[in-house]
């Protein structure tokens, strides 16, 4: 079976439970958005998948094989996050070379080309790069490594608007040339909303939503009208529909609903689509 399976993963640190019984699959050749607020457990999850941390419970398997301490499975994955794990005094171009020795599929020529596009000076030492350029350096690694599963933990942190735009374009280009599984963890949702195909929303260590972006958006909506009308509509909703938030201004009320296709909407109420960012804010508030 192709893909990554996360099974019943729990992880706690001293006094905080970072992940609670998380079960997920990352299918082959899809772009995922792993969305969650700060401290929701995104980074911990990615660290566990790539064997950097151990879960307290559960396991991860890659293409059907448990991946913990399994070199063959680990070679299929690459994770970048805000930590620089390369020796600080190493030069960028040497880091490319080292990565090439461990990942033979690493495309050094591509890395050099991207460095030029981002104006990254490959003769510089990694530690002397600014925060933004350290991010760029790691993004270039991830976009050149050519393995089936690449995890981008906050890839655009510290990047300016132009570089963010360039990053998304290059990611899509790479993906179009040769599809791979890309998991992008971010809280800048508006920017990735159209890039991703699948959405995973995580809150306080638990998975709230895990479905395709299109289906989540098609079945979510804002319904607004007078308070009494909206309330009676909400009461009539089937059990699978879930009201995730509401706003009241004067006599007008808006409710945000997941899992309602709006087929039986009465006269006088207005149903409008909801974007991913708004949905995320409603789902993860409180």
């Amino acid at each position: 079976m192709k893909g990554i399976e996360v099974k019943n993963i729990s992880k706690s640190f001293k006094d905080t439970q970072a992940l609670r019984n998380v079960t997920l699959t990352f299918e082959a050749e899809k772009i995922y958005g792993l969305l969650g607020r700060n401290g929701a457990g995104k980074s911990t999850l990615l660290n566990i998948i790539s064997n950097r941390k151990y879960p307290n419970e559960g396991y991860v398997s890659v293409d059907g094989v448990p991946s913990a301490e399994n070199d063959e499975a680990l070679r299929k994955m690459f994770l970048i996050n805000e930590m620089n794990l390369y020796p600080e005094s190493m030069k960028v171009k040497d880091a490319f070379k080292v990565t090439k020795t461990f990942y033979p599929s690493f495309d050094e020529a591509n890395a050099l080309k991207l460095s030029e596009m981002f104006e990254l000076n490959i003769k510089k030492k990694i530690k002397s790069l600014s925060t933004g350029y350290q991010s760029i350096f790691r993004n270039i690694l991830a976009l050149s490594v050519n393995v089936p599963y690449v995890f981008f933990d906050e890839p655009v942190l510290g990047l300016d608007a132009y570089h963010r735009d360039l990053f998304y374009r290059l990611l899509i280009e790479k993906y179009s040339e040769e599809p791979f599984t890309a998991v992008i963890s971010t809280h800048l949702i508006e920017e990735v909303a159209n890039v991703i195909e699948e959405v995973i929303i995580i809150k306080k260590g638990e998975i709230l939503k895990n479905q395709s972006r299109d289906s989540i958006l098609e079945n979510s909506c804002t319904v607004s009208g007078t308070i009494s009308q909206v309330d009676s509509y909400v009461a009539s909703l089937p059990a699978k529909a879930e009201v995730i938030g509401s706003d009241v201004i004067g006599g007008l009320k808006s409710v945000y609903i997941c899992g309602d296709d709006g087929a039986r909407l009465p006269e006088g109420l207005e149903r409008s689509p909801i974007d991913l960012q708004k949905l995320f804010i409603q789902l993860t508030s409180m």
Binding site: R52, E69, F78, L79, L85, P87
Partner: protein, 242 residues
């Protein structure tokens, strides 16, 4: 595995070259000095290699662990690579040290001797043994001693890495204090305990002040010691997280 080993060996070879250049410089200065001033010098330069091993071991964990974890290597492989690298370094360094010992011996005009552990501990045995046996004893003993120093340093650095902050401070302050402060205090305050410890240490190393000593007892002890510490290091590496 081969890649990890190659990367680490190349990286550490630089430090090794610098170290031996410095040693060469010191020896040449000593030789010149002794010849000008007259007299002979019994230098303990051979022992500085053990300190070098300890320091390299201390610096070896974190940087490589991070780099290899980023590049999809398991802890098992990281550990195996480090051990192999330490074995190779120990072999190279023991060969270098024994070479230095022999060269300085062969040059009577040098007036400087390069003491190694075995030439000190087992001088009686070594001086009476045939040339092949002597070479073997010198090589094996210094190889084992260096490996032990390397792997002790390695283990300490993993423990340091894995400890929470207070533990880190404890290790950083406690260990040097124990070596520099603890031993003299023990020596002065509890001379009997210290004497017992010393004689126990010399006993398990096969040293004897009455006979010529038995380096093979020392070898067995060192092998057991290195296996135990290597085992502990393996457990420590397996549990390390980022």
């Amino acid at each position: 595995m081969k890649k990890i080993l190659k990367y680490q060996c190349f990286d550490l070879a630089k430090a090794l070259v610098v170290y031996y250049l410095v040693i060469l410089l010191i020896i040449s200065l000593a030789v010149i000095g002794m010849n000008v001033a007259g007299g002979t010098e019994r230098s303990g330069l051979g022992f500085s290699s053990e300190f070098f091993c300890l320091i390299v071991g201390l610096c070896m964990f974190r940087e490589y662990f991070y780099l290899f974890m980023q590049n999809g290597v398991s802890r098992k492989k990281i550990f195996a690579g480090a051990c192999m690298c330490l074995v190779i370094l120990s072999a190279v360094m023991s060969a270098m040290d024994v070479l230095a010992l022999y060269i300085l011996e062969a040059l009577p005009a040098a007036n400087v001797s390069y003491m190694t552990i075995s030439s000190t501990l087992y001088s009686g045995y070594v001086n009476n043994a045939g040339p092949v046996l002597r070479l073997l004893v010198e090589l094996v003993i210094s190889f084992l001693v260096m490996y032990v120093f390397f792997v002790v340093g390695y283990l300490i650095s993993i423990c340091f890495y894995r400890s929470p902050k207070p533990g880190k401070i404890g290790i950083a302050v406690g260990l040097p204090l124990l070596v520099v402060g603890g031993m003299p205090v023990l020596m002065v305050a509890f001379p009997e305990v210290f004497a017992r410890l010393m004689s126990f240490f010399l006993f398990i190393m096969g040293y004897s002040d009455t006979s010529s000593g038995n380096p093979f007892i020392g070898m067995v002890t060192l092998i057991v010691l290195s296996l135990v510490i290597t085992g502990l290091s393996y457990r420590a590496v397996k549990g390390a997280q980022i």
